[in-house]
Symmetry: C2
Subunit: 196 residues, 2 copies
DNA sequence: CCTACCGATCGGTAGG
DNA sequence: CCTACCGATCGGTAGG
């Protein structure tokens, strides 16, 4: 990947380190060392360590949101009013964002607690809104009989945990390409919600 | 809960803080403050900060292992050779350990990366062995037709992510008791593996 | 369990 | 992007 901007290179390196050692376990000097510069030099590009975390998390959140927008529009265009199809599209989109940048996605999933209070609040409400999109499809699917009876809140939380788990084991050089992994997650998700 | 030992009280407080702020984000003085003593006083009871993390993680791992032992023995006694029953018992046992001490279990799930290399290696191999117990049931279930065709490795990783997700939202004072949550997770897990 | 303290490292700034 | 530096905090020790 060609380096587009120094700022972006800092965020990419930080995503990798935050994912591996956590935000608190990564110092500004660790990030600088990976870029072969002095710690203080980073402050020409970022205003604080938290600023870097927020940039990573905000961008990842935006990607998840946009991918869900496109997935729902697409599902609605192809099979209008089909909750199972819409949910499958949401899961596929989610796995796509996750595998496209597993470091940033992993930071989004695990490190939001380290954001300062205002950012933390903002990201939590976006996460809630995002989860609601999934839960609505679960509820609609139950209502029309496409899914079996279950507790929609628990089922949706469990489904998102299952899908987010991909961030814990996905390897870009592993035996399965991202698209095949998405196929599996879609299949497992729909099965989980279907009647036995 | 009555305080059994000072050492144990330190670990309980540390479980709470490590889970909320992460290992690196929690200082020895943070733990001490929660116990109303000076930071240096903790060293009368623990040899290092990592020693506390290891104690929490090791104990949690042992609980998961013992609960799985009992669950498999029980399932084998009641319905010998039934992979779906054995898997259900494993999931129920896992959720039981998780909800019995959600702080310690959450630290086990998320903070093992912060262990020193030897402990990290040890816990990873125990985690692998634990996952194999689940995967064997998944494979056997597919072989006898109790479960639908799927990739056993991906299905098992996804199942464990789904179940571990409980640590992220379980609230001891929430609307559902732990036993009901376990019921739901068993149901969702078995559905996920069953034929559609 | 306390006070007093150690060297190391932290996030961040000044000034170039 | 560098050197030089700031005050604060870190994990941990000594000695009581």
């Amino acid at each position: 990947m060609v380096e587009i901007s120094r700022r972006r290179a800092i965020e990419d390196v930080a995503s990798d380190l935050f994912r591996e050692h956590g935000y608190a376990g990564t110092s500004i000097r660790d990030i600088a060392r990976a870029l072969s510069v002095q710690g203080a030099s980073l402050y020409a590009h970022v205003s604080s360590k938290e600023d870097v975390l927020w940039a990573i998390v905000d961008r990842a959140a935006t990607r998840f949101e946009r991918a869900a927008d496109a997935a729902e529009a697409d599902a609605e265009a192809q099979r209008p009013g089909d909750p199972a199809e819409a949910l499958a599209a949401l899961v596929r989109a989610h796995v796509g964002v996750l595998t496209a940048d597993v470091d940033a996605a992993g930071v989004f999933v695990h490190e939001w607690r380290s954001l300062d209070p205002a950012h933390r609040e903002a990201i939590l409400s976006r996460r809630d809104a995002y989860e609601v999109r999934f839960r609505r499809r679960v509820e609609d699917g139950i209502a029309v009989g496409a899914f079996g009876m279950t507790d929609p809140a628990i089922a949706t939380s469990t489904l998102l945990s299952a899908v987010n788990g991909v961030a814990g084991w996905y390897d870009p050089n592993g035996r399965l390409p991202a698209a095949r992994i998405a196929d599996h997650l879609v299949d497992l998700s729909v099965r989980m919600l279907s009647n036995a």
